[in-house]
Symmetry: C2
């Protein structure tokens, strides 16, 4: 074969206005496509000078690897999927999480894809979808249950994921959780410090893992600080604000009305405040309240409410880091973090 016309992969000049590919760089540098590919990933069998030259040209032409090409060849999607309930009530909490996740992913090659599901459908559906279609390299889920079937499924398939909230499956997986046990315990303490003894808790729905945490912190607080519980089981944090409001008013007018109230979320607290005031009672005077809170609104309008902050943005950051680390093979046990309530102001 003639030396001048010896076979080359990149023998046609790339058209000027198209997205540069490895071929473009190969043509410009006179190297083979494989060499360029390996140079850009700093492979040990490529010369230092060549690497430098390739990197320079790549930067010059604004080369970005084609995600579809990489994905097709390697199976790596470079996608993290956040599985999100579309119910209005929960979205407020998860949106700062999106920010936290994005902050971390922005420093990586990963894209964030929102995979939604509605209350009317099986929460397993979005997980199955990601697993079956290979839509992502890792998944983040919320609203974790003790025997969460999504967790069981992903563990079984050995698929990287992180959960916002813990499980009780005896399986080690990455999670980030807020210490709701401590939250409720501290809340009881703060109410007792203000002379309150009859305490009512607006808790999360019983099927979520953190229900147990919050309840046990609550019970422990009652024991340790000598207070009693006022039952409030008709509603939980998944009920509408209107329902919570009505239930709270009723509780406040009942014979053994509470003098202290704990709310497991900021939204619930708003409804409780309204219910308390509907009953003709006044915060700080007749009733004290401690709420978990992730935004400032409540604090501005009812500064009497004591708020312990849960940082959802941090949760997003921690979960994103954990899932990526899991994808990279780090053991799950090293990727479990807890955050603690912080007194606001």
């Amino acid at each position: 074969m003639d030396e001048k016309t010896k076979s080359r992969q990149a023998n046609t000049p790339p058209s000027p206005n198209e997205r540069p590919t490895l071929k473009t760089i190969a043509f410009m540098t006179g190297l083979g496509i494989t060499t360029v590919s390996r140079a850009l990933k700093d492979a040990p069998d490529i010369g230092a000078e060549t690497k430098e030259r390739v990197r320079l040209v790549a930067a010059q032409v604004g080369y970005h690897p084609n995600r579809a090409g990489v994905r097709l060849r390697t199976g790596k999607t470079n996608v993290i999927s956040l599985i999100l309930s579309l119910e209005e009530e929960f979205i407020g909490l998860t949106s700062p999480m999106v920010v936290g996740i994005s902050e971390i992913l922005a420093t990586t090659q990963y894209h964030l894809v929102i995979t939604p599901y509605s209350a009317r459908s099986d929460p397993l559906d979005p997980v199955r979808y990601v697993l079956d279609t290979g839509a992502a390299d890792g998944v983040i889920i919320s609203r974790t249950e003790p025997k969460d079937p999504r967790v069981a499924l992903m563990m079984e398939r050995n698929f990287p994921f992180g959960t916002h909230g813990r499980t009780e499956l005896g399986l080690e997986h990455p999670y980030h959780d807020f210490d709701n046990e401590r939250f409720a315990y501290d809340a009881v303490r703060m109410l007792v410090e203000r002379g309150r003894r009859r305490i009512m808790l607006l808790h999360p729905p019983p099927f979520l893992t953190y229900h147990m945490h919050m309840r046990s912190g609550f019970e422990r607080g009652l024991r340790d600080f000598g207070a009693t519980s006022v039952p409030f089981n008709k509603v939980d944090l998944d009920n509408s604000l209107a329902d919570i409001r009505v239930a709270c008013e009723a509780a406040m007018l009942a014979p053994d009305a509470p003098d202290g109230v704990i709310s497991g979320s900021g939204g619930g607290a708003v409804a409780l405040v309204a219910g308390i005031e509907d009953a003709g009672l006044k915060l700080a005077r007749d009733v004290d309240m401690v709420s978990k809170q992730s935004n400032d609104f409540l604090q501005w309008l009812r500064p009497e409410v004591i708020t312990l902050r849960e940082d959802f943005r941090l949760a997003g950051r921690e979960l994103a880091k954990a899932v990526i680390a899991r994808i990279e093979g780090q053991p799950a046990t090293e990727l479990q973090t807890l955050s603690f309530p912080v007194l606001q102001n």
Copy 2:
């Protein structure tokens, strides 16, 4: 060539535990890969019975087209990118939009990818990124400016997108907008109906398009209903709640204090309420207030505030539909929608 061993593409049985591909179905049906591909997209040159058979087998094995394969071959990403500012202040508003977008995309092949940017970086960056990398088939942006450079860029490249908010570029593109002119006009009317005459407006930052809309509705309202404006130009909706609160208190204590206040957002309203009360004034008695509001919190805690609702979830739905229609070639002029303030309760 022996008839029995005549060449076939799908001649090796697919391994059982892998994701099914066209090859899998081709093998199972005894058809060619091309035929299966065309049968599944209901091409006219495939027999009706064959199509039925292919569809059946595809459903049976749970076939989903490999997105990377499609994307690589056709260039279609089946992705819509939502470009999102990571600032805490704005994320509250955009999160119901995510829900609306997801609702629409869930009925299609499209995935939603969140492309973030921070205040410290150029807002053009994420748009350039999507354009340069071909990361999506369409884009949704918010916080639109009259001469929005992102809009100009995408128009120039003929790239499908939708904006939350209008522009003044003389370019026709899909948008969804809330009628802020009408909002401010109605707000003035409602305040005047309550006997208020000296009205203060907490407006959006001047560089956003809807600033003009809100201002002109405000001015028109003042003229039509015979009220006057109390200047409030030290802060806008992009300032921190704390800044707004302080500025509002100062305005309330100044010689020509307003007796009516209009807030362009629910978050701002909270700060204004706090400022008013800091000044020792009382809502409804000393001052009336109209706020744009997208959640219920304000209404629960300060029912005296009159709220006109902007539906961000609807905005998300409209924008998602518009962008998809634009991708499918529908003219931009048919994809421009407006929504109107709704009195809450």
